[in-house]
């Protein structure tokens, strides 16, 4: 188990370096640079050169990247070009809001999805199954920001039940959580249904039923436990994707999270802030997906065993 986690953690390093390098180089290539706003007419060519040297613009992009990454490890990502505040601190204050929203949506989505997926699988091929499939397809096709706006039209403009934006009370969470949770529940339902269907004809289920295990226990203990892996993957993926794509739903509800911070930063050409936000969010995404992989091994001893037998062998066997 430890070996597995360590291997996976080590693998994280090259991926993170590549991901952040790609983003840094892209953002660095964006038109306009950090010193543009500082240059004024009174400056001589030498002053400008001096400024360039100060911000390492005379050196290669990789030098700047290296320096930037060193800063990242010290929790120093430079400061916003507009507000002058530390990027790391700005991200840190906004982050809990995004996390809250994503986790609540995830909880709502999962609570709807797992029972519904099991229900659909148990009634496979019937009208109930088809209805569930229709529901999930609608959930997958509905843009979450559009659902968010429809909720705003009904609950905020027509009957004025919930506030349209963030105001700190519990009420302002209701609509964004529903809007975010709905599409999540759709894909988790789909995954749950097919995972349960994969195990539903196994002999051990017949055995369990034959010896008189009550049906709910068969479902929870025998079916669900053997179907967990794809479901957990889906849940983890959804969490990672929601956090990374939080910009859209945060834009709908003027939510003070990192997604909106990112949009504002990019729109105001605040490259330092934008780059910091994107790199931190991408890092978070990669780490979350890794955690899902490690959770696997907790759920499924077979995967653990494969890893202690050696990574190579397992990959060859898969091929």
């Amino acid at each position: 188990m430890l070996r597995y986690a360590v291997i996976r953690l080590l693998w994280l390093i090259p991926i993170l370096i590549c991901v952040s390098l790609i983003i840094f180089v892209l953002m660095d290539a964006a038109p306009g640079s950090i010193i543009d706003s500082m240059i004024n007419e009174e400056m001589t060519q030498e002053d400008i050169e001096e400024l360039k040297r100060e911000y390492d613009l005379d050196k290669s992009v990789f030098y700047r990247y290296g320096k930037y990454m060193l800063g990242l490890f010290r929790g120093n990502l430079g400061s916003s070009e507009i507000s002058g505040l530390s990027v790391f601190d700005m991200y840190k204050t906004r982050f809990p809001k995004t996390l809250e929203l994503s986790l609540l949506s995830l909880v709502l989505g999962t609570l709807i999805a797992i029972p519904m997926g099991i229900f659909a699988a148990k009634h496979a091929g019937t009208i109930w199954d088809n209805l569930t499939t229709a529901f999930t397809l609608i959930g997958l096709s509905m843009p979450s920001f559009w659902l968010g706006l429809l909720l705003l039209i009904w609950f905020s403009h027509s009957i004025k039940l919930f506030p349209a934006g963030y105001d700190g009370t519990w009420k302002c969470y209701v609509m964004p959580v529903i809007a975010g949770g709905f599409s999540m529940s759709a894909s988790i339902t789909r995954q749950t249904r097919s995972a349960i269907l994969d195990v539903v004809r196994q002999d051990y289920l017949r055995t369990a039923r034959a010896k008189g295990v009550p049906e709910w226990r068969v479902t929870v203990k025998h079916e669900l436990r053997n179907a967990w892996i794809p479901i957990v993957t889906q849940i983890g993926m959804m969490l990672a994707m929601t956090m990374a794509g939080s910009a859209v739903i945060e834009a709908v509800y003027s939510w003070p999270g990192v997604g909106r911070l990112m949009i504002e930063a990019i729109n105001q050409r605040d490259t330092t802030l934008a780059c910091g936000c994107v790199i931190l969010t991408a890092t978070l995404y990669v780490v979350l997906l890794l955690l899902v992989d490690i959770v696997y091994a907790f759920i499924d001893p077979r995967i653990r065993a494969q890893y202690s037998a050696g990574r190579r062998k397992k990959r060859r066997a898969e091929a």
């Binding site: 790609i22 096709s141 843009p143 910009a247 859209v248 991408a282």
Partner: protein
């Protein structure tokens, strides 16, 4: 003797020597078989019909709706609710929303189609190389693909559009790039599953080059999962494009891309909810249709997968 019976006897006479001639016929029947399975699937047919309708709408918009029609400002006509003259109502500048939405079909359909086609071509090329040749080629391609898959699509889209500036082409590139790694994995996996077949050995025995075997023998035999994935990816790409446009990282205003239309409508939620409602229905219908068709194709092309 009726004509059918004659044919039977003739074909019987030819016996097994006719296998070569019937190969063409067999190939066609595999396609027909899939088509018949697809045809009996009401969901898939619904999806197909909606997609055809959308394409027809797009053709209509190319022929009859000019850019002036959707851009001309008419301040006397602002915020009209849906009526016979304006089926979807009018927007804050008095422009007809129906015309704008129909005009917008081209953006969403084009993003859906071309970004997937881009991801498919690039992804399948590298995926085939990786799956067929293995070794260090596979290692490099798969690790690069891992890195690409590690960058969340939405973020990559925002960054690419931020760097290149908001335009239709840049939106297409942004989404196309995020489609690549999925296709690399898919095609590698399906290549691996047919690579050991006898027909590959046969091709090698007659002296075909490895590169040609990979692309002319192995690839065509692993194509059905790719078709299914591509159809499903069109749906997610349309959604992603709408999302990016909605937050201002897509087609620049005032062009009537659906996400951008919704973004415009959100300023008048209380006053003119129809501005938000109709473009959203179009997005939903398009993605819904593609998902249905994708599911139907999966069942039709590979009945084994059907649950």
């Amino acid at each position: 003797m009726s004509r059918g019976q004659t044919e039977t006897i003739v074909s019987r006479k030819e016996g097994h020597s006719a296998t070569l001639a019937s190969r063409k016929y067999k190939k066609k029947s595999a396609f027909l078989e899939s088509w018949n399975r697809l045809r009996t699937n009401p969901g898939a047919m619904f999806g197909l019909i909606v997609i055809i309708l959308m394409v027809l709408l797009m053709v209509y918009s190319f022929m009859f709706i000019t850019e002036e029609d959707v851009m001309a400002i008419n301040s006397a006509n602002r915020f009209k609710p849906p009526s016979a003259a304006h089926p979807f109502g009018t927007d804050s500048m008095g422009r007809d929303l129906f015309m704008r939405t129909v005009y917008g079909t081209r953006y969403s359909l084009a993003v859906g189609f071309f970004s997937v086609a881009f991801g498919l071509v690039v992804g399948v090329f590298f995926g085939t190389l990786a799956g067929y040749f293995g070794g260090w080629v596979e290692e490099i391609i798969m690790r690069v693909s891992d890195v690409m898959a590690s960058i969340p699509g939405m973020l990559l889209g925002m960054v690419i559009v931020a760097v290149l500036g908001p335009s239709f082409l840049n939106l297409l590139i942004a989404i196309g790039v995020s489609n690549i790694s999925g296709f690399i994995r898919m095609s590698r996996a399906s290549i691996l599953s047919v690579k050991g077949s006898e027909f590959v050995e046969a091709a090698r025995a007659i002296g075909m080059s490895e590169f040609r075997i990979a692309f002319s023998q192995v690839l065509p035999n692993s194509v059905s999962p790719l078709i299914v994935t591509a159809t499903a990816r069109i749906a997610t790409s349309v959604l992603a494009a709408a999302g990016l446009s909605f937050i201002g990282f897509g087609v620049p205003v005032p062009l009537p891309e659906w996400g951008a239309l919704i973004s415009d409508g959100r300023n008048y939620l209380g006053r003119a909810p129809h501005l938000t409602l109709f473009p959203g229905i179009f997005i939903m219908l398009t993605t819904f249709a593609c998902s249905l068709l994708g599911d139907g194709l999966r069942d039709a092309l590979d009945p084994k997968l059907k649950q």
